[in-house]
């Protein structure tokens, strides 16, 4: 005669921390969208200068809105990923804060390197 509380499908709306978790998990959809966008860009570049410029013209408007949203989600993914990393990856004799800082430094360095390759 025990009572079992039913669980709502919208359980992730019940607490702010659950909702943030749901957003974090949803970020994977935008990671997948990035792969699609990247492959479209690669196709356009390889098809020649006109296709490349046509692609960038197409990337304004609605696609731009999608990309801005995707960027926010991808940033959420990156920040939550790096913040949780020291708890999953325990290196003997290295304090967790060092593991954390190294992740952010690597992120910064790699981002700068990629930007340099693209824009140089």
């Amino acid at each position: 005669m025990t009572y079992v509380k039913p669980i709502s499908t919208l359980w992730w709306l019940r607490r702010p921390s659950y909702f943030l978790f749901a957003l974090r998990e949803l970020s994977s959809v935008f990671v997948a969208w990035f792969v699609v966008y990247l492959l479209m860009l690669v196709s356009a570049i390889s098809a020649g200068p006109e296709a490349y410029h046509r692609f960038l013209d197409w990337s304004t408007g609605r696609v731009l809105v999608l990309n801005v949203v995707a960027l926010l989600f991808v940033l959420l993914h990156a920040v939550t990923w790096f913040n949780l990393a020291p708890r999953a990856m325990v290196v003997p004799h290295v304090p967790p804060v060092v593991v954390l800082v190294l992740h952010y430094l690597l992120w910064l360095g790699l981002s700068a390197a990629l930007a340099w390759v693209v824009l140089r």
């Binding site: 949803l26 990671v31 731009l64 960027l71 693209v118």
Partner: protein, 116 residues
């Protein structure tokens, strides 16, 4: 005794993809998806991008990024459907959709990058 699951291998792909995506996707999406289309940064010269793209190293790195990012999506989205929408009953279908999608996407990525 409980049966060992194939979960560790897909989790490794998920983790590698999560790391690769966290490190490289924000800057690439910011550049090509937002800053360049908006004109905040000058459009990179087409010839320059083509040279970079045609380097085998670039192709290999981009292929790796695409495959890992897709498997990252597949694994995480599978659990989003399980828990967020409570669809664990459909787990067979979801597994085929997610990991099958990632495999198909990887094949497309390979084709696009080889042809580039």
């Amino acid at each position: 005794m409980r049966r060992r699951s194939p979960e560790p291998l897909v989790w490794l792909l998920f983790s590698a993809g999560g790391m690769a995506a966290a490190l490289s996707v924000p800057v690439l999406l910011f550049l090509f998806g937002v800053a360049i289309p908006l004109g905040w940064l000058p459009r990179p010269d087409h010839a320059h991008l083509l040279t970079v793209l045609r380097s085998p190293i670039t192709k290999l790195v981009l292929f790796g990024l695409c495959v890992l990012a897709l498997f990252h999506w597949a694994h995480r989205f599978r659990y989003t459907l399980y828990d967020g929408l409570r669809l664990k009953k459909l787990s067979g279908l979801i597994i085929v959709f997610c990991y099958g999608g990632a495999l198909a996407g990887s094949a497309v990525a390979g084709y696009v990058l080889l042809r580039a």
